[in-house]
Symmetry: C4
Subunit: 203 residues, 4 copies
Amino acid sequence: MSTGRLESFSDGVIAVAITLMVLNITVPNPAKTPNLAHALGEQWPIYAAYVTSFITIGIIWINHHVMLGRLGSADHSILMLNLLLLLTIGVIPFGTALLASYLKQGHGDNLAAAIYGGILVAMSLAFSALNHRILFARANLMKVPLSLERRRRIYSRALTGIVPYVVATALAPVSPYATLAIAAAVAVFYALPIASSFEAGGD
Amino acid sequence: MSTGRLESFSDGVIAVAITLMVLNITVPNPAKTPNLAHALGEQWPIYAAYVTSFITIGIIWINHHVMLGRLGSADHSILMLNLLLLLTIGVIPFGTALLASYLKQGHGDNLAAAIYGGILVAMSLAFSALNHRILFARANLMKVPLSLERRRRIYSRALTGIVPYVVATALAPVSPYATLAIAAAVAVFYALPIASSFEAGGD
Amino acid sequence: MSTGRLESFSDGVIAVAITLMVLNITVPNPAKTPNLAHALGEQWPIYAAYVTSFITIGIIWINHHVMLGRLGSADHSILMLNLLLLLTIGVIPFGTALLASYLKQGHGDNLAAAIYGGILVAMSLAFSALNHRILFARANLMKVPLSLERRRRIYSRALTGIVPYVVATALAPVSPYATLAIAAAVAVFYALPIASSFEAGGD
Amino acid sequence: MSTGRLESFSDGVIAVAITLMVLNITVPNPAKTPNLAHALGEQWPIYAAYVTSFITIGIIWINHHVMLGRLGSADHSILMLNLLLLLTIGVIPFGTALLASYLKQGHGDNLAAAIYGGILVAMSLAFSALNHRILFARANLMKVPLSLERRRRIYSRALTGIVPYVVATALAPVSPYATLAIAAAVAVFYALPIASSFEAGGD
């Protein structure tokens, strides 16, 4: 199976997930909002979580693009691992809304942060599983053959991307702000010019 | 009419339907939720139904891809049967939300499960009708001609996919959990490596 | 400007609009619904309006596909008329929800039906304006030149598609059911095999 | 990295954002609406903001298309600036809903208009940053080389598009209606035939 429609379907799912998140940013009810500036200021966790998740999904998309770009064709296992990855991306809007709703509540915030971090860890694991399948188990499907050494370098570099999300999740019981801050730092790091060589496609 | 834009439109509809389902997973209202862990645990039918429907739609997409991949061009009847199939896929998010909302209610759960199963049966029937049209009535539009025997084998193999959904629907009056469990089992089965030869495109 | 990305953007908008409509079909609140079968039966206008609008948008997509397929490239006026058409398609989910909500209310139903019909008339007019621009004012951008006579035949055939929507709107003050019934009849008519020659692309 | 999938992903995000806005147009609750005509008339700011934002996003899409069409391939910085642009487009539905909700409230309306204008300014700045990167810093990635003079002309012409949004934002503390009126006037201006030479791609 050619990869064209696989990419187009994945693009669609990722584009809907990233854009749907704006529904999390609700407009304060005018009848119950004497001071709009204050009400909008109060919901700053929503903006912080929105921007963090938006850039995070955007970077996943870039890395996904690079990863699939190595494929000449896809088999059943690649389609299913890709679907698993899309499933984890698809729940990021929920994790984002959950974290944003509970961050300042004083209860449930640690659990909400752990779930947000856990979704990002699950996404990273699904990404790595698909990456591993493409680079090693199905290397024969690659468009251009790469040396084993180079494939190992690509894979281990991508694998390190899981570490900060594991740390962010582990810190959730201590501070949900730390979880969001680490996820945001990862997003900013990958957005910087220096990060380009750390992407899944970097070498 | 060439099939490129037909595939791209179908991909769009399926991608929106599969991603939109995350809106079913609502965040418990912080003001009314003393215990978030308990509140999230209570809504496990939502997660179970979400994952089941997500993988189910993902597998429909794969099979749809394989089915349309055989076409060199499409006529009016193929466009309309494809639209009918998209209509049944488009209501899966509603069926999923309905089943998830009523599964533990003690009332309405049997009907909700029957509707969920019924939507999957309707989807399978629409899929088979389109498949039949492509393989037999419009075989002249196929990219590469296949022998009648091979087309019959592809069609009957795809047709067997309806059976578990009929069983799941028939069991809804007895146990709505059975309906969900069967739909989940079908999703897991198709996700396993062994299933690749059972897909619409398998031979 | 080539038409590839114009088609892909239009496909995206139409695919989101057609799929988003499922959000109109709400799940009755379990706590307030002693009888689910009755509650689901009560909201039959939602299903009728959903199916009607789904098939209607699907047929618009087919005709849009055929219409743009004649273009070799697009200029500013074509892009803007296409945007106007997408705007009218984009509000069909609202018109559908409005009609479904008021059809059985005994008040507001005539206005709701008039708005639903009016949206379909506006959509048809925008479609015809774009069609006219492509077939006559910008005939030089067509991929394959067609005789004036043939372009006139295509245009007038497509133009007749407005008539039933005008009638449906005109009947709204008398009977909102008539409005929905006519829109549904148009959808069914175009879905039948005999209709294929009446499409914008028919000749 | 080729630009095909970058365009397809951007198209997806823009298509979802533009279509999602219809969810802002809510159906008045029949049980609380004795006079539907009056209730619909009352929410005219929603329609005005919807149409303005719809055409605005549509014109962004056209200009985005022209801008990316000059690229032969994309590097990390282009991907990230494009993601930033998509982020600003992605929040337009929120700004639109905010402005529409507060325009007639007598409180919060100035702030809501300032935020709406501010989002359009941010979008214009992100657009210009990406445009600048493509035309100057990464001119070597362009499909067809353009003279420095011509690139400067394209850039400064596109840059002037920021001015009205800055004015609209600056007027928000005085009159929120002025903010919406200017944004609407920009949309109408670009939609007119005369505007085609003022677009990012105009020369």
